[in-house]
């Protein structure tokens, strides 16, 4: 019988995706003496090794890279450090900054001075959105299909209906078409496409893929394998309208219906979550539990991997300051989303440093103005839920600021509700 291995480190990073890799490298660079990186998969990179399309790295590496190439660069940087990388290691318990992790053979208890959460997010599945109908094989999340096609070399089906117009769903529509499958149609609950316009053009229009907005999947038919997918138009309450059914022969249904930050570990030790599913964080990326910091998609879903790396690096720099006892906490100001703001990060401001506010709108607007309390406002020709808004507020404006900050977005409706 092997006992529990005990070890002590300065910083433990949970998750080896674009965020965790950035955090581990940065924590070491900022002066943490021993840094450990825990990754439950057999390889580093999180989701990016399966994202073979381009568009990564333009901000962080000033060069357009594929997902695997982006990770390749970060892993090369990591290899220059003495960060202890533990793959096939799953953190199963978090008590303050003490982690219990399961490796291939043993349990390891890691007593860290600070922990950085980098678990990212996972896809919503059929169970999350309660699609009625039979339960045959052939219903996949878009990310699972992406892994099957791009990493493992299998095509998940020949006639495919895609529900959800997020970027992964659209990218998979193009990928499946290029690999010889037929994408029967793409169905979107809202009256507008959820992902980037570039993807709408280059993944859907380029391949003449039929799109049904304000529709949803109302039935799945099939005994062993999906045989038919039924879609219906929806009403104002997002409920299917009887009589509007359209039936498509298909062997596969892909779901691209949103991502949920993965925070089971965080809540285990009392980290408070926001309605988005991400932890409350302050402007130093510290959660509600002292010594636990968070960056990347575990906090909120970012548009770009580059920003995931960037925010995780900021979490790492502050985690090291925390260990050294000089985290610059001055006072606490609450930040709340107001009109047409679905969420805003950070949730509190504690330092007098420059702050970057990240937010998403609820509904698309044109000629829009976003106001960060009384601090700053910024004008936009368009704001869309798919495009994250970032507004930087300089340090001199934050100094001595004590009132709660409400973020509002006003403008003209671009799409009728």
């Amino acid at each position: 019988m092997s006992g529990i291995i005990e070890r002590s480190v300065d910083v433990a990073v949970i998750g080896g995706g674009p965020g965790g890799l950035g955090a581990a490298i940065k924590a070491r660079e900022a002066g943490a003496k021993n840094v450990v990186l825990l990754e439950r998969s057999e390889e580093l990179g999180g989701m990016l090794p399966q994202c073979i399309h381009n568009g990564f790295g333009l901000h962080y590496f000033k060069e357009e890279l594929s997902g695997p190439a982006y990770i390749h660069r970060l892993v090369k940087e990591l290899a220059k450090t003495d960060v202890d990388v533990m793959t096939q290691t799953m953190a199963i318990k978090l008590e303050g900054t003490r982690i219990t992790a399961l490796t291939e053979k043993t349990l390891t208890r890691i007593n860290a001075k600070a922990v950085i959460l980098g678990m990212g997010c996972r896809e919503r599945s059929r169970g999350n959105i309660r699609i009625p109908g039979h339960r045959p094989a052939g219903v996949f999340t878009a990310g699972t299909a992406q892994r099957l096609i791009n990493v493992e070399g299998y095509i998940p089906g020949k006639k495919v209906v895609i529900l959800g117009s997020g970027d992964i769903g659209m990218i998979m529509a193009r990928r499946l078409t290029l690999e010889g499958a037929e994408v029967v149609c793409l169905v979107e609950l809202l009256p507008f496409i959820g992902g980037l316009i570039r993807n709408e053009v280059q993944c859907l229009r380029d391949f003449n893929i039929p799109v049904y907005t304000s529709h949803t999947v109302s039935d799945v038919i099939g005994k062993n394998r999906v045989e038919k997918v039924v879609i219906s138009q929806i009403d104002k309450e997002l409920k299917p309208i009887p009589g509007t059914e359209k039936e498509f022969e298909a062997d596969t249904l892909l779901l691209s219906v949103g991502l949920i930050p993965e925070n089971e570990l965080s809540t285990m030790t009392g980290v408070k979550l926001e309605p988005t599913g991400g932890p409350q964080v302050d402007d130093l990326w510290q959660t509600s539990v002292s010594g636990i910091f968070a960056g990347g998609n575990v906090v909120h879903v970012h548009d770009l991997a580059d920003y995931v790396t960037e925010s995780s690096e900021m979490a790492a720099v502050n985690a090291v300051k925390y260990i050294n006892g000089y985290l610059p906490v001055e006072r606490k100001v609450n930040v709340k989303g107001g009109k047409n703001i679905r969420y805003v990060v950070p949730n509190t401001i504690v330092s007098n440093q420059p702050v970057s506010f990240f937010m998403r709108v609820t509904w698309p607007l044109k000629n829009a103005t976003v106001r960060i309390g009384g601090l700053v406002s910024k004008k936009y020709a368009f704001v869309r839920p798919s495009e994250q808004i970032r507004i930087d507020v300089p340090a001199e404006m934050m100094k001595g600021f004590r009132e709660d900050i409400i973020v509002n977005c006003d403008g003209e409706e671009d799409v009728a509700r």
């Binding site: 695997p68 791009n150 070399g153 690999e179 570039r198």
Partner: protein
């Protein structure tokens, strides 16, 4: 015969829906519904010779059973109409290890003058 198209401009977040028309010699006869000249130029390119970067995978002869594929990309955009043919050509390729990031996997694909290169590494 003149050709007409509605092109969504991708040069900035405004995403103008440019109406563009070219004659039989691919000369722009008319363009409307754009807010800056980048929109006109982009729409002309999209109707005359639309190009796309192709990213896909090729087989790699590796001992690694979980990762039988190598991600690749065209180094530059190729004509949109050639995407399916390029896929067919790449489907016949098997790469030997070791393959390094940036290695040319298929030179001058379909005589476009554009190489297809690896965007990852498989060492053995």
């Amino acid at each position: 015969m003149n050709r007409k198209a509605e092109v969504i401009c991708l040069q900035c977040p405004l995403a103008c829906r440019v109406e563009v028309e070219v004659d039989k010699d691919n000369k722009v006869v008319s363009a409307s519904n754009y807010k800056c000249k980048r929109g006109k130029t982009y729409a002309a390119q999209e109707i005359i010779n639309p190009v796309r970067v192709l990213t896909t995978t090729v087989r790699v002869l590796t001992r690694d059973q979980i990762h039988p594929l190598l991600p690749v990309t065209t180094r530059e955009a190729i004509p949109k109409g050639l995407l399916q043919d390029a896929m067919k050509q790449l489907a016949g390729i098997e790469v030997k290890t070791p393959v390094k990031y940036g290695d040319v996997i298929c030179p001058n694909i379909l005589n476009t003058g554009v190489d297809v290169v690896a965007t990852s590494e498989v060492l053995n």
